[in-house]
Assembly symmetry: C2
Homo-oligomer: 292 residues x 2
């Protein structure tokens, strides 16, 4: 997973005359790690982020409710005329991707297929462990996506990792101990695993910690990063598949990214938590009410 190549910053086909505009949806702050990974590849863009913070968590809601909420958000984001709409939420990607694609007229991409595709590119044993929330595990979306690529998959629900990350304990001995317990339970059930998929958008924040916990023989695939590469490919090459996963543009664009954030709950609460996830200042945050 360490192959690199030299790439120019993408020359976007979707719009020659203006910066690309990329919309990212999540139920909360987790999708900001997806946004962060996209910004690292495509800094010269305008980003519109929507966090449905008043209605989270989506994980405990029915498929119909998740689809309704996500379609509402997608239609709102569509009014900003993005070149692509990113569903940076595992639950919504698992339960509502087709509803969203049917409801809007822009390209839509979720986080699950790119994560599964990245795993397929690095695995020899075709056995994978996916760490995710209980809700995402309950959908078995990763298991299905990986099964289509010939994998046996062990999905491990890790309900403590999101609250640990949200507490800010991203390099804390308690988090490491919890991660060791979860990993040893998972590997007991999947001994031939050679790839670990981070199937929750909070987990990239503890990737360094997980790297210490996970055996060296196991590659770690970050769905957020995989999704960013898929978007890079989509915007640069249209819908052509690319082999250039894990590549990085050599030079940063001199033009900084511009961010606009919309949330359905408290602006202050979002602005306080968001920089940890995004790694950029979070300033232009607006409240919006989509109804309950």
């Amino acid at each position: 997973v360490s192959a690199t190549s030299t790439l120019e910053a993408p020359q976007l086909v979707s719009s020659a005359s203006r910066r690309p505009r990329i919309a990212v949806f999540d139920s909360g702050v987790g999708g900001l790690t997806v946004l962060r990974a996209i910004v690292a590849l495509i800094p010269n863009a305008d980003y519109i982020y929507f966090g449905d913070t008043a209605r989270l968590p989506y994980g405990s809601k029915s498929r119909e409710t998740v689809a309704r909420y996500t379609v509402e958000a997608a239609k709102f984001l569509e009014t900003h005329e993005p070149d692509i709409l990113v569903i940076g939420c595992n639950t919504a990607s698992a339960l509502a991707l087709y509803d969203i694609k049917a409801a809007v007229h822009v390209p839509v991409i979720g986080v699950i297929e790119p994560g599964a595709e990245s795993a397929a590119q690095v695995s020899v044993s075709r056995e994978a462990v996916v760490l995710a929330t209980e809700a995402t595990v309950g959908t078995h979306a990763y298991q299905r996506a990986l099964a289509r690529r010939g994998f046996a998959t062990h999905e491990k629900a890790c309900p403590l990792l999101v609250p640990l990350v949200e507490e800010g304990w991203i390099d804390h001995p308690v988090t490491e101990q919890v991660a060791r317990i979860y990993m040893s339970e998972a590997l007991r059930a999947a001994a031939h695993t050679d790839v670990l998929v981070l199937g929750c958008t909070h987990y990239p924040l503890i990737k360094a910690l997980l790297r210490r916990v996970v055996p060296d023989s196991i590659a770690i695939v970050d769905s957020a990063e995989a999704t960013a590469h898929a978007i890079f490919d989509e915007l640069k090459y249209g819908a052509q598949p690319s082999q250039k996963r894990n590549s990085r543009p050599e030079r940063r664009s001199p033009h900084a990214p511009r961010f606009t954030f919309y949330v359905t709950d408290s602006v202050e609460k979002f602005a306080r938590m968001a920089p940890l996830f995004l790694g950029h200042p979070v300033l232009d945050v607006h409240h919006i009410d989509l109804g309950g």
Copy 2:
């Protein structure tokens, strides 16, 4: 906090001819610890429990939304003609108690006033620490209730304790380590504390662990138990205040409690989690839809 006295099982004034009927509301499973504490005092009763599991957590919602949801649930529970309605949810007790009292025609009791009253009965220093969720801390309901009783209060948000309890790690070294961190942070800000209030309905499950972590000089007050005593008093003596906190009926009634449960999300998920909180079998669970 260990005084005990001999009490008969309560002779309820509210109904001479039938077993008392007690309704308990919560957004999820936490209120089951309140129910458990009531059943320990009043075993010979019919219990109706409502868990609004599809719409949890209430903590991230506005006061208006919490009030609307809770009033809907209270009206549903009122149709079962309970002798008393218990709001076994700290967020709803903090934000919606007056709305509920205005909306139904049965006595209503929350968990915050009984918790504060219990603390007032054991504290000499009049300095208290309250452990609670971020949402409950945000309402400052315990701080106000304790201030009315002459207390300086340090409210400590403990966002990891609920997920640790829900993971079942109620006597786990990780939970003990987390509790030690939270307690040492809280006591650094409140050095004269002689009472700790458990301001979240999940925390009674880790009371034994907390007893190991908290200095012996600090009494632990469990809002669930305090509320059970208040209900015992209310049903036995009408609204007369009683000094017999922390008392236990010497003999159990020969009649076992009867439970009926209503939840708005998955019946199976509730039935799987609930016995840990209730300490009784959870069988008669019904799904109900109050709308979204």
